[in-house]
């Protein structure tokens, strides 16, 4: 166990009574409860936490929270491992296992470090230019493997994730001073308020800035506000909760973490918050300064150094140089010095910093105004920094007045960039504020306000008043009327900044703009030289601002540099698009409960228990849990399916057709309506008869098929495919409500109200006659394609002479509650007849050998009714119908369209693979003329059968073709799709 060499003897908001053992890159360390992984590693003297993305340069910690670009780690092992977390955001836990990424075997000793020697060969976009020949895809696997960061777990995640919807009057994002003040005002005013913050404790920067609010320590005020909010019945406080996306209608998505302890009932929770008013108090991110070698471990944001020293009692270095272009940067010196960190100098890039520098000098700090950093010494850790007067650096290769400052810590402060990500996602407009050298919120969407630093108010006093006013205004907008009281107040501060986008070039050393993606100023120069003017193009060419941190510390510098290079004002350059998520979100959080059996709801038919009892193997067909086949002791799947098919062809079978869509269409204009919805005629359908019909989209493409039953003059029952009921019903409603409101028609989706059992086979009538019924089953009285309403076993039933097997069939519809009893009775009475239940697999084979198409299997998104042989029916119909116009296009009449045919393998034992192509040139295996859509071994015919869509297929019956799939060829012939009983004698029996 290594001792914490850099831990301060006292102070910090860590629990020294709760030491925690953890490991990083296989080494054991110790930290305390309240630490982050980053603070604990710094306390243990670990400086290198990762390797850079492209050149594998050693990288240390730059930030202290979500802005961190370098310290990307993998947490945990096995199925619970999580890649690409920022060490700065990982709360320390007992036995935490963390590893660096993009390096091997460790960040300290990375064998790929040699890549930095090839740096000059790898400028921005080098792979676009280099890996072109013979093809990018030739290199892609290697490059992808080399370029990855963390590793995704390969097993199923055993942890539990939750989801929650929330509604509130006011959502406040961020619990820094502005957010706390806003939540306080909104809650006091009586609004139902939700306050969300991504840190484990409230207060934001007040945790380390050591300021006062209302003339007392700021943290006292934070504690009081937290207590008041948590006690209020109209407020909810969410810590460890990141607002990562703003969507339409004030929907804000939050990801709540439940700590990193190993045993936890819930790991993360996804919140969908719909808020009437949103206050974004998301703070601001301190900017890196761009100068040569600014990526050496030990170069750290000034605010981060302060955070580590004050909140975590960690000494990030012993001798520090502070480089700043802002007044606020000086604050770090005042916090670090009393904690034993020597301040070698404050280097201010501004020529005349004013009062802040004078005050620092009076406090004993050495201030170098008008100086800029030109080089950092050290490779694995900062050893010194060279600075030079700005005027000198502007002279090429000048080394005059170079000043070397020995140090092991360089604190940088390049100004503050408001976190406007969520505001921008909500379609808020940004404007460039030259005084603040940053983009700040401009006109916003209704109901959204930015407050505090997020709005460019960087001083605590303004943060508090701005936040309080925003909370009060938001609450008022929701109708809350209680008195919010007065705003908390703090002492005034100076926050002046002078933009300093990059130090002038100094020899060949790299000045890093985006540390996470290894983007240098030279890369931006190259992009500008290559005339990439749009910031969006520059982003994609150089990759600046991409990946995990989305340019949190780099975007503004990149824009500033680009502005200098292209001589274009920053407002004209604009920003890249802010897209969710603001911070990475695990896939587990997004999936929440939608995993395993709850992945999506699967409907069960009224016969589900009966299928289970009969040994059914279930599969998901169109959102229904359906019996695929029924197991039989000692028989394989194929043997079971064959036996089912034999029963249907030789005796009698039962099939659960309950999922078939059933839509009742009633009203005086029902026939007119259905005549428009089907491409074939329904107006002429007599009462008591049934007709097969096809419905088309407006593009003329086959949408659904099924039978239409006319129960009365003004009453039809439309049968749809199992998965198509809801879609077709919605379509009916849309046409009725939007296009033809004049039609007197009512449609009702009764799919779930009725169960459906299909009795098929030569003994079907015999079986049905064993039950009591008032329906005359005689074939003359009840012919094929007719329907009778009556009673069966003394319950109301609709019996139709239709089927999908090609055999004598009766489809019986009874109320869903009677279906199970009917099924059991049919099995009981039919036992002597050899009755057997059949599953979907057998049915599919039976319908294939009959040549019945299955929409979605034997049709695709282009298939027209003429392609499946419905041309004659269309020609007979004079009235208009949905999709008719599209069938008049020249494209619809091309003779070489894909048409439904049978495909007969020359070897009758060969089952042609579904998806195999009919190829024009068998030798070259090129020129697809169509493909196999359905294929099986026919039990009845003793050979294989197949259906397919083939170019001009119907005029090519008898033609020899070659079928190709995965390197194999089969000779076959195009034949009629009606393999079995082409005259229909069996189904008309």
């Amino acid at each position: 166990m290594r001792m914490s060499a850099h831990r301060l003897e006292s102070g910090g908001r860590i629990d020294r009574g709760r030491p925690l053992a953890f490991a990083f890159d296989g080494r054991r360390y110790e930290g305390f409860a309240g630490d982050t992984l980053a603070s604990a590693l710094l306390a243990n003297g670990v400086r290198i936490l990762g390797r850079s993305f492209k050149l594998h340069r050693p990288r240390g910690i730059l930030g202290a929270w979500g802005e961190e670009p370098n310290a990307i780690v993998q947490i945990g092992t096995g199925e619970t491992t999580v890649p690409n977390l920022k060490a700065t955001q990982v709360e320390l836990a007992e036995a935490l296992e963390a590893r660096s990424v993009n390096c091997w075997p460790s960040a300290r000793s990375d064998v790929f470090a040699f890549l930095k020697m090839f740096g000059p060969l790898m400028p921005a976009g080098f792979y676009y230019k280099t890996f072109k020949w013979p093809s990018w895809h030739w290199f892609e696997p290697t490059v992808r493997r080399a370029a990855g960061l963390g590793v995704a777990p390969t097993g199923a995640d055993p942890d539990r994730y939750e989801e929650r919807h929330e509604h509130c009057d006011v959502l406040v994002v961020g619990a820094g001073p502005a957010g706390l003040a806003a939540a306080l005002a909104a809650t006091r005013a009586g609004a139902r308020t939700v306050l969300a913050d991504d840190r484990p404790v409230l207060g934001g920067a007040l945790q380390w800035e050591e300021k006062t609010v209302d003339e007392r320590p700021a943290l006292e005020w934070v504690g009081e506000v937290e207590g008041e909010l948590r006690a209020a019945s109209n407020a909810r406080v969410l810590t460890r909760t990141t607002a990562f996306g703003c969507y339409d209608h004030h929907l804000v998505a939050l990801a709540e973490r439940f700590g990193e302890q190993t045993a936890r009932p819930i790991r993360e929770r996804l919140w969908h918050v719909r808020a009437e008013q949103v206050v974004l108090a998301t703070g601001a991110i301190e900017r890196q300064l761009v100068f040569p070698d600014n990526d050496v471990p030990g170069v750290m944001l000034a605010s981060a150094a302060r955070n580590y020293a004050v909140q975590y009692a960690v000494r990030p270095g012993r001798r520090a140089v502070l480089v700043t272009s802002t007044d606020s940067g000086y604050d770090a010196a005042e916090s670090l010095k009393p904690r034993g960190i020597a301040i070698e100098a404050i280097v201010d890039t501004r020529m005349d910093p004013g009062e802040v520098a004078a005050r620092a000098r009076r406090a004993g700090f050495a201030v170098r105004a008008g100086y800029v950093p030109v080089r950092v010494h050290g490779t694995r850790a900062v050893r010194a920094i060279d600075i030079q007067p700005l005027a000198e650096t502007l002279r090429a290769h000048s080394t005059g007045s170079l000043l070397r400052l020995e140090c092991d810590l360089v604190c940088v402060s390049g100004g503050w960039t408001p976190s406007v990500h969520l505001f921008s996602q909500a379609r808020g407009q940004l404007r460039y504020d030259a005084e603040r050298a940053a983009f700040v919120p401009g006109s916003g969407p209704k109901g959204f306000q930015c407050a505090g630093s997020a709005a460019g108010q960087f001083a605590l006093r303004e943060c508090l008043t701005d936040g309080f006013a925003a909370g009060r205004k938001a609450a008022k907008a929701t109708g809350a009327r209680s008195d919010a009281g007065i705003s908390p107040i703090a002492a005034p501060e100076r926050t002046a900044v002078a933009p300093f986008w990059a130090a002038p070039r100094h020899d060949h050393r790299k000045a890093w703009v985006d540390l996470q993606n290894d983007v240098t100023r030279a890369d931006l120069e190259l992009a500008a030289r290559e005339n990439l003017r749009s910031v969006e193009h520059v982003k994609r060419y150089t990759t600046t601002g991409m990946a995990v941190d989305q340019g949190k510390t780099s975007n503004m510098n990149a824009l500033g540099i680009l502005s200098d290079l292209t001589k274009t004002p920053i407002p004209q350059i604009g920003t890249t698009t802010f897209r969710p998520p603001y911070d990475p979100v695990t896939l587990g959080t997004l999936a929440a409960r939608h995993v395993g059996p709850l992945y999506r709801p699967l409907r069960r038919t009224p016969l589900d228990s009966q299928h289970s009892d009969q040994g059914a193997c279930f599969e998901d067909f169109g959102g229904w849990r359906r019996a695929a086949w029924y197991t039989s002791h000692g028989q394989s799947r194929e043997e079971c399916i064959r036996a089912e098919k034999r029963a249907a062809r030789g005796a009698v079978s039962l099939f659960d057709g309950s999922p078939l869509g059933k839509i009742e269409v009633r009203g005086p204009d029902a026939a007119v309506f259905l005549n428009r919805m089907y491409c074939n005629s329904m107006k002429t359908l007599p009462v008591g008869r049934v007709r097969y019909g096809i419905m088309l989209s407006e593009h003329g493409v086959i949408l659904d098929d099924g039978v239409c039953l006319r129960l009365a003059e003004d009453h039809f029952l439309v049968s749809t495919t199992s998965g198509g009921a809801d879609r077709i019903f919605s379509g009916f409603e849309e046409w009725l409500q939007c296009e033809w409101p004049d039609l007197r028609v009512l449609a009702t989706n009764v799919t779930c109200a009725w169960g459906n059992i299909a009795i098929a086979g030569p003994r079907a009538r015999e079986l049905l006659s064993l039950l009591s019924t008032d329906v005359d089953l005689d074939p003359k009285a009840f012919p094929h394609l007719s329907v009778r309403c009556g009673r069966l076993e003394n319950v109301p039933a609709r019996i139709a002479r239709v089927g999908f097997t090609g055999e004598l069939s009766f489809e019986i519809n009874v109320a869903a509650g009677y279906t199970a009893a009917l099924w059991e009775r049919l099995l009981e009475r039919g036992a002597p007849l050899g009755v057997r239940p059949i599953g979907i697999e057998a049915l599919q084979d039976l319908r294939t050998e009959k040549g019945y198409l299955h929409v979605g299997t034997d049709t695709d998104g282009r298939t027209l009714p003429t392609d499946i042989g419905m041309g004659e029916a269309l020609a007979k119909k004079s009235e208009d119908f949905v999709g008719r116009r599209s069938l008049e296009r020249a494209e619809a009449k091309r003779p070489d369209r894909l048409q439904l045919v049978g495909l007969s393998a020359d070897d009758p034992g060969t089952v042609l693979p579904v998806g195999a192509h009919v190829v024009a040139d068998p030798k070259a295996r090129l020129g697809s003329q169509g493909y196999v859509t359905s294929s099986c071994m026919s039990e009845a015919l003793g050979r294989t059968v197949a259906l397919g869509l083939v170019q001009g297929g119907r005029s090519r019956h008898g033609e020899s073709v070659a079928i190709y799939c995965n390197g194999r060829l089969w000779p076959a012939h195009i034949v009629s799709p009606q393999w079995y009983d082409p005259k229909g004698e069996r189904l008309n029996a």
Binding site: L598, S609, A753
Partner: protein
């Protein structure tokens, strides 16, 4: 005569709560012996008159329920309502309404077997439901008499508040009950 079975008859041990209490904070009670009629009419006045004469109920406003004795009328769409009534009266009242509406464009459909009705109650009700439903179901936002057609655990659902702050009636399409039970149990026992 065939035996009539409800989905609750066929749910197996282990797949359902076994009893009405599925977690300490959530109690699910199947609503039995109730019939459902789906009323559709383009002629509201005719339907209004028929309902008042047959069962003494007025059509509720949008997203509301009205009830009188054993009869509950739930708004569904601007031209569609769901009437919950004793199962034994379903045929007779359905026929009577159909007769009264014979000359109007109207349809009365027996939905008793199409939907499964549950009463869900308990202190954790809103928390559990708001894990899978995007509506605000807390008592002040979903008061007695309020009806919503929504999605619960990705299942199309009709929710209504029959009165009180700690119970909601839920109607889902038959076939989804096993999924919903599994989801409720998993959510309530977290």
């Amino acid at each position: 005569m065939l035996e009539h079975r409800t989905p609750f008859d066929s749910i197996r041990e282990g797949e359902d709560p076994g009893s009405a209490t599925i977690a300490r904070e959530l109690i699910v009670t199947p609503v039995r012996d109730k019939g459902l009629l789906l009323l559709q009419s383009a002629c509201l006045q005719a339907l209004q008159t028929a309902l008042e004469r047959e069962i003494g109920l007025r059509l509720p406003p949008a997203q509301q329920a009205s009830w009188h004795g054993p009869y509950v009328l739930l708004w569904q769409t601007p031209a569609q309502w769901l009437l919950q009534l004793p199962a034994r009266e379903c045929d007779s009242i359905g026929a009577a309404l159909s007769d009264r509406l014979a000359s109007a464009l109207a349809a009365i459909t027996d939905f008793s077997d199409a939907l499964v009705a549950l009463e869900v109650g308990g202190a954790g009700l809103a928390d559990v439901f708001m894990s899978g439903c995007s509506l605000d179901l807390r008592a002040d936002a979903f008061p007695p008499g309020r009806v919503a057609r929504t999605s619960l655990a990705d299942v199309p659902a009709i929710l209504w508040n029959p009165g009180g702050s700690d119970r909601i009636h839920c109607l889902i399409e038959r076939g989804f009950e096993t999924h919903l039970f599994a989801w409720l149990k998993g959510t309530a026992t977290r």
